[in-house]
Symmetry: C2
Subunit: 243 residues, 2 copies
């Protein structure tokens, strides 16, 4: 199970049809908007439990809790259960230890039409509270599989997925071969802030891309770099009409 | 004064010529790379102070300190001292309370040739440890002014700067009027995650831009959105040859 709290985050769980098992709330702490949200959960037959303000604070993870906390079942993270043949754009995060980066990438994935996130190596858990918060609820609308590299390679070969690796020594992302990508399933691989992608993944990749920037910084933030490449791939897909 | 710690971060301070007043280190905790870095500080006449591992841990802010902490003087945050007529691209962050977002935007600013950050409203301090860390050292290479909106407006009018506002109801960033921007100084205004830019800033802006994405999420992360727009403006500048 995992916890998610606050009005905005829990509103996203309703909007994205990923409902909590139980919602805990402290009536004295609720805004009007939070009260409405409790009603929406009740209308959807979600169990709601009243707590004292003191008890709610003790389950809350934030400094200024909004009086509402949801308890969710962790969904399957099994690739073979999550993958569907209709999925066209996937993201792989390798050694993504920063929860802020993983959450932000999840949010951008949902925004730019990436259907499935694969998480491998020494990564933070996809449903840890900081990831859920940083995702602004995007994890409620995504599928996230936890995988080994071996599983990834078997999967990619079987499904004929093209690997696009974010790599500082790659080609400019603005020069991606649009035609070649048009009819392929793609997987965008993003590595850790500190070390980038592993040698193994870089060697297996079909294309390596980088983002043009001044040499005043060594690299962009991993979530920013991943998001920029996602956006380019998304725009390409929109233009080609296969969104 | 502010603290920054870790090998990578302090290496950036050397590379970007923003040296600490004092470097504290615990010899027993240092990697070879950290030892080299201490030498580089000593060669640049930076005061270095040996500490026991226990004492170093007590000044450190991280869970696994690398045995090296720098103490820096906070630079001026006075706009009239920081601004230079040669600055062409500026960023304004309004109510940027998340240190991760501010640090990430600072990193992207340096990467995409934005010379000066203006910080207004209820924002986190630009040299707080989390901002410095999230910036990956970019704050060492940037100028950051803390300003009121009144100061901003007076400055923008005086310097004839065009305001480009990041706004969910704006036009697509890919449709920016390149010609109109070519000869102008620009300021990109980015608001908070929760509420976006204030009405006042939106009304004063010359152009409002948004990033195309699916309606599955309400918005992108503020640092991602800001970085994507910066990248577009940077590419435009490169193409027009006025980088």
């Amino acid at each position: 199970m995992f916890l998610a709290e606050g009005v905005r985050l829990l509103e996203e769980s309703v909007r994205l049809h990923f409902l909590p098992r139980t919602v805990f709330y402290a009536p004295s702490m609720l805004s009007k908007r939070a009260e409405k949200l409790i009603k929406r959960f009740e209308n959807r037959a979600v169990e709601t439990v009243k707590l004292s303000a003191k008890d709610l604070r003790s389950v809350s993870d934030t400094e200024s809790p909004q009086g509402i906390v949801g308890l969710f079942a962790i969904p399957s993270t099994n690739l073979s259960k999550l993958y569907q043949p209709k999925h066209r754009r996937l993201v792989l995060c390798e050694n993504m230890s920063d929860p802020g980066n993983l959450g932000t990438l999840a949010r951008s994935s949902l925004a730019f039409g990436f259907d499935l996130i694969l998480l491998c190596g020494d990564s933070v858990g996809p449903y840890s509270p900081k990831v859920v918060r940083a995702s602004a609820g995007a994890v409620f609308g995504l599928r996230i599989a936890v995988v080994t590299l071996k599983e990834v390679y078997a999967f990619l070969a079987r499904e004929r997925v093209m690997i696009i690796a974010a790599d500082l020594r790659g080609e400019l992302v603005t020069k991606l071969p649009r035609k070649a990508l048009q009819k392929r399933k793609i997987l965008l691989a993003v590595g850790s802030e500190a070390t980038g992608l592993s040698k193994s993944l870089l060697e297996r990749s079909d294309i390596r891309v980088r983002i043009e920037h001044l040499r005043t910084v060594e690299s962009l933030n991993a979530a920013v770099a991943g998001s920029i490449i996602m956006k380019e791939l998304f725009e390409m897909a929109c233009k080609e009409g296969y969104r």
